[in-house]
């Protein structure tokens, strides 16, 4: 599996950038000609991960969010979303559906959505240092327009 395209992005952990982040990743992935449903899944997963950085990792105090996205020659998208925030003490608990420390207006579904909408999600976190969420999704190649 070789990487055929890659992008890096860093931006302020401000909620107004949630839309920018998912749009940027979505534009990058477009070269794989994903379906609308695949693109919607990726946008939703990115939005969840970026929101987690803003709300939980940096606690609304600001910081920098880093996104690295790769496309492989096997039509896979690999997205890493990293922060240098507070980190997660108990990753397993944080990934349980409905678990949240973000108040009653947060659904606690961020990781559940990422896991459901992407093929693979892994989380590496060190308390006081930060968290990296890595998500993968294979884009099913549409062959109807290809020449025989």
């Amino acid at each position: 599996m070789n990487v055929v395209n890659e992008m890096n992005l860093s931006f302020s952990a401000k909620s107004i950038n949630e839309s920018f982040a998912r749009s940027a990743v979505s534009a990058f992935v477009l070269s794989l000609d994903p379906t609308i449903a695949e693109l919607s899944d990726i946008k939703t997963a990115v939005s969840e991960a970026v929101t987690n950085c803003i709300v939980h990792a940096y606690g609304y105090q600001g910081g920098i969010i880093y996104i690295n996205a790769k496309i492989t020659d096997t039509n896979k998208v690999i997205i890493k979303i990293r922060d240098k925030g507070c980190g997660i003490e108990n990753v397993r608990q944080a990934m349980e559906p409905l678990y949240t420390t973000g108040g009653e207006e947060r659904a606690g579904l961020g990781f559940a959505v990422m896991q459901s909408f992407m093929d693979k999600v892994s989380v590496r976190s060190t308390p006081s240092k930060g968290t990296t969420v890595t998500m993968e999704k294979a884009i099913i190649r549409c062959v109807k327009n290809e020449r025989p």
């Binding site: 939703t44 009653e104 947060r106």
Partner: protein
Amino acid sequence: MVEIENNENVMTAVLSGDIDHHRCAVIRKKIDARADSERPKVLVLDFSRVQFMDSSGVGLVMGRYRQMSLLGGRLKVINVPENIDKVFRLSGLERLGVME
């Protein structure tokens, strides 16, 4: 982002565009301010014009469900597009009986 009409105790909030954590804060304030002052019997959240939603939208619905319960009214969620319904299905919100 949100247009609100109140007609004979039925308040309808038509949501549009993207619903994420950033936009939910504004939408929530607008709906709660109107509902608190006008006390409708039914609050309808109309998702027909929503193009994108993450789980923040589920929090928005859960919060309005709680608010309407406190006000003695009820909540209805209507016209959910297919791509957004996937997030609602994952949340199990249908158990609240608000989805139409």
